[in-house]
């Protein structure tokens, strides 16, 4: 039930309302919402959004009563992009896991913060900043969380050399 309503709500963010089809794994995909096979992947909805759409998408998730699982990044060095992944889940028995993704250029990795919606995003965003150097615009306290306080390196970047 919640799966359909959340999918429709997220889909309304995109101009062309044609449902995005499941693309071949690894192939580039356009913005939009994909329904994934839960048994194979472990989540239900997979949305790729633009930085401008992020807050609206997270707002939808928040209003639907989801809790925040985590925020993390992936370095797609071959495509010269960094991906930020937001995980949301629910406390009720109607299982629905939503993944929201953003891709930003590697040389200018800036995404808006969602701490104004989910206070718990604070540490997750700081950690992602530690590991990938992704800047969360508007974050209240973007200093190293897990790395040393004077760290100027980002160890999960694929071109990081210790």
């Amino acid at each position: 039930m919640i799966l359909e309503t959340t999918r429709e709500a997220l889909q309304s963010l995109f101009a062309e309302s044609a449902p995005a089809v499941e693309v071949e794994a690894g192939a580039p995909r356009g913005n939009g919402v994909i329904t994934r096979d839960y048994n194979a992947h472990g989540y239900h909805l997979d949305a790729l959004v633009d930085a401008e759409q992020l807050l609206a998408a997270v707002q939808i998730i928040d209003q639907a009563g989801f809790f925040i699982e985590s925020i993390t990044g992936v370095d797609w060095i071959k495509e010269n992009q960094l991906e930020v992944i937001y995980d949301f889940s629910r406390y009720d028995f109607d299982v629905c896991r939503v993944v929201i993704r953003i891709r930003v250029p590697r040389d200018l990795p800036v995404v808006p913060t969602i701490t104004s919606i989910y206070a718990g995003a604070n540490w997750h965003e700081r950690e992602t900043h530690d590991f990938f150097g992704i800047k969360f615009a508007g974050h209240p306290h973007l200093i190293p969380l897990l790395l040393p306080e004077d760290a100027d390196f980002h160890p999960l970047l694929k071109d990081f050399k210790a």
Partner: protein, 372 residues
């Protein structure tokens, strides 16, 4: 000797709790701005035992990464290794024999009991009662002995394999587990009489550190923290995995949201774990403990895979982004105490420091699991 500093009324001072402080049970630092004994503002400082387990996940193969998972939470390690093998099995499409899944469930529940017992003992010790720790450790010792006999380790287990188990349980283990259940039930009664009913204990916990359900949601709190705030959420029930649907057990939920509620949730959970172990032993099927069709070198298909499990501390999630190679392109560990601890800064504002430390203990922190 210099003269003591006189604070003006309303003037605050900074107090560092940790990084070496017995109440934090690990190297955790909380920078507190104090107004007398009251906390004005708190800021948790992490990273003292950060080991970058996620990077290690990228530069070793899936099998080589197995031992890492038990170094996150050394008190409830089996739950974490369970999540890891489950996500690999999900992505690679490996069928696990039923017997192996039953043994996994039994050992995970034993481990959960051991973890809760240790927390119980330490928590009461934090509050000034020493002897319950000794009783709890004695009970826990039985579990550690049992697990040591089958897994070869006392804390940092590496017992599960992709597709099954490292070795089968023997009759000694089953006998020992069967003997342990009535013993533990007796102990739980003893703990209720010794600690839960203690009026001083109750007065220190009731109404302290209230967390609302909404706060849990905003911070992503799970486990006993969420269940103590009236949220009926346990991954074993809400998003069933392994053989948990086969078992008849309840999820204890308390609505007060205070430290006492979290204490009661964990105490009740021990009885539920015993029920699962009891049913698991009774239903334990025969057969192999290892999948027959299993590639020797695991390679995952290209994609993004996620698995959540309920560990002793809450919902643990593991995400693997695979590019088809024999090691992960990206491996993310979502640890439950990370989110549970995050709400401490906001929740402890305005509390007295001793109450805040009692509140911190009720979150059941394991620092290496926060820092990873």
């Amino acid at each position: 000797m210099s003269a003591p500093i006189q604070l003006q009324p309303g003037e605050t001072f900074i107090l560092n709790v940790g990084p070496q402080h017995p109440a934090t049970h690990g190297v955790l630092r909380v920078k507190m701005e104090m107004d007398g004994e009251y906390i004005v503002k708190a800021e948790t400082v992490l990273g003292y035992v950060h080991r970058m387990h996620e990077k290690m996940g990228e530069n070793r193969t899936y099998a080589q990464y197995l031992p890492n998972l038990s170094r996150l939470d050394y008190l409830g390690a089996l739950g974490y290794t369970h999540g890891h093998v489950l996500v690999i099995e999900r992505a690679a499409g490996i069928e696990v024999p039923e017997r192996a899944e039953y043994i996994r469930a039994i050992t995970v529940e034993l481990n959960r009991l051991a973890s809760h017992l240790f927390w119980f003992g330490c928590y009461v010790m934090d509050l000034g009662g020493f002897s319950p720790l000794m009783y709890a450790l004695e009970d826990r010792e039985y579990i550690l002995d049992m697990l040591e006999a089958v897994t070869g380790a006392r804390l940092t287990y590496c017992y599960y394999r992709f597709g099954g188990l490292y070795n089968d349980v023997d009759d000694d283990f089953i006998e020992a587990a069967k003997r342990f259940i009535p013993r533990m039930r007796k102990s739980l009664k003893k703990y209720a009489a010794l600690v839960t009913g203690n009026i001083i204990f109750q007065k220190r916990l009731e109404g302290m550190g209230p967390i609302s359900a909404e706060m849990c949601r905003k911070y992503g709190a799970t486990g006993a923290v969420a269940r103590g705030s009236g949220i009926n959420f346990d991954v074993r029930k809400n998003e069933p995995y392994s053989v948990y649907p086969e078992f008849d057990f309840d999820i204890p939920v308390y609505h007060e949201g205070d430290s006492m509620a979290r204490y009661k949730v964990r105490m009740d959970e021990m009885e539920q774990s015993l029920r699962i172990i009891e049913q698991g032993l009774a239903k334990l099927p025969g057969g192999p403990i290892m999948a027959e069709k299993k590639p020797k070198n695991i390679k995952l298909p290209v994609g993004d895979f996620y698995q959540a499990v309920e560990t002793a501390r809450g919902s643990f999630g593991i995400r693997i982004v695979s590019d088809g190679d024999k090691n992960a392109y990206r491996l993310k560990l979502r640890s439950p105490t990370y989110s549970n601890m995050h709400l401490f800064d906001e929740a402890c504002e305005g509390m007295m420091i001793m109450d805040a430390l009692a509140f911190m203990g009720s979150l059941d922190l394991v620092i290496p699991e926060i820092d990873r």
